[in-house]
Point group: C2
Chain length 349, copies 2
Amino acid sequence: MDGYRVAVVGATGAVGTRMIQMLEETSLPIDSIKYLASKRSAGQVLKFKGQDVTVEETTPDSFENVDLALFSAGGGVSKKFAPEAIKRGAVVVDNTSAFRMDPDVPLVVPEVNEQALYEHKGLIANPNCSTIQMVVALEPIRKNYGLKKVVVTTMQAVSGAGNLAIQELKDETQAYLDGEEMQAGILPASGDKKHYPIAFNPLPQIDVFEDTGYTHEEWKMIHETKKIMSDQDIQVTATCVRVPVVVSHSESVWFEIESHDASVKKIQNILSDAPGVVLQDDPEHQIYPQAINATGKKDTFVGRVRADLEQNNAFQLWVVSDNLLKGAAWNSVQIAEKLHELDLLRVPK
Amino acid sequence: MDGYRVAVVGATGAVGTRMIQMLEETSLPIDSIKYLASKRSAGQVLKFKGQDVTVEETTPDSFENVDLALFSAGGGVSKKFAPEAIKRGAVVVDNTSAFRMDPDVPLVVPEVNEQALYEHKGLIANPNCSTIQMVVALEPIRKNYGLKKVVVTTMQAVSGAGNLAIQELKDETQAYLDGEEMQAGILPASGDKKHYPIAFNPLPQIDVFEDTGYTHEEWKMIHETKKIMSDQDIQVTATCVRVPVVVSHSESVWFEIESHDASVKKIQNILSDAPGVVLQDDPEHQIYPQAINATGKKDTFVGRVRADLEQNNAFQLWVVSDNLLKGAAWNSVQIAEKLHELDLLRVPK
């Protein structure tokens, strides 16, 4: 075998199409590729490096002769088919929330906890988009200064809710500009009872509400951060907001560190050397990360590094990244690349 | 005299037109009204309660026989003409930042510090829009539990930057939908060097940058909050973000209180009785404040009240209000109503 036999589950979705793009660009050796999706999408023809690939309906047997399966077709699909894939010898990188908090499943952002890959039992979970870019920015700071507490407010793009949500934003926006009524059918959460317009209207709900008053998206940011950083004592609290943006999440992050010896300059230096981070921080010349500039790029962009002027161990950041790439497709393919590099791209016996 | 002779300075602007609307609805007795603006806007004809009023160019003599002058035409205009108005016997309510931090000028949100009106010397400053709605929500909590620290992230509507910024958002949005290039000429700050698209792109800059790395808008939230609440020890830090929204600011507010005896339920009860606040907080039924619902209303809408799950004296709120009404025009007219009620609508000898 020269390369891997790869399957993309959810190939027609907003993340799936980016997974294909990331696989076209990867250094990972690929022998063959298979696009899987629901029955509804089967028969569609997509490209891979210029060649036609017909989308097939996902069945257990789809995973025969597959070495690597990238899943991004919803938690239900992952729960049903990931075990079938692993049983047939495929390593699964799952972009859904189905297995993220399973103690037997590594939850990996390569820049942060690559070493967790050694523990995999056939399945590695890709964290939530909003968590990934935050931990990429905070990990180098945590390593140097310790991390006590994080208060984050996100401004998340609608593409995190899929292609239909992108279309909904565009349709509502055009209706608003034309003075017509906006029709909401998907956002804030397709599975919830009520739907509200997102055009020109930030919605402080992503995913459904928990009993605590937090949404499940906020819950994910809190608990995934602790798991990825392997530290249950880091306090994290979050407000997750959907905003009228197509691609790339922006995050306002306040954080408290253990050390009292940090400074804006030192943190900027740490970030400019950090893996996966691009520091864009020059207020004098109005340089700071923006969603439209981050879109299509694999990096996490960090700027507006500044001190809490009244607490000498607290700072703030503005963190922007393409939610479909580093937040999903790229992080998944990057995990596969790391597995290959560490000779872990096989289901352990 | 049966009523007051009122002048609106900046009558044709985004805030000015709302000031006129608020004056049409006010219980304040009004004998006559005068619309003032720049030379460029002079000659336009606007309505007041169905009657035509011709906009006049602002000159020092415009304020002869004026009892109350509402200013919202930029700091430069206020600096030049507010002293002329006061000299001629008018009480000035100024919506610009020109005099807000002057120790001799009360900075007033009637729900919070009405008593400061007794100290006025002819001029009362109206705080910054993003500050007003935050202090309306936090003051009742501060009164009950003490307030130690606030970490706020705003999502501010473009109307805060005026009518031209609204048009810029709409033009850019249409260009984006049509697949054309977006042309930015005003935002993030008309007076700054570079301009970036706001359509589908949150911009973490409102007003210009200070040496600390904070923008002047963030500086305002920090220092105006301390002044309005008469407590320099309240720690406040802010990230102010312009978002593609036409009207109404949304704010994610994390705060720490002195007391360890508060609860979500108690805070909800306090907020539901608080002046100027409408509690919209029922996650189970997806009830929370939204910009499109707050627009055109005078109240501050508060929801998503929840506990910081790892710090028992910290909580979070989602606060939404019409930035042109409570954030500007309504707060100014409300100040005038209070001055009248307290028999203070005259320049002290």
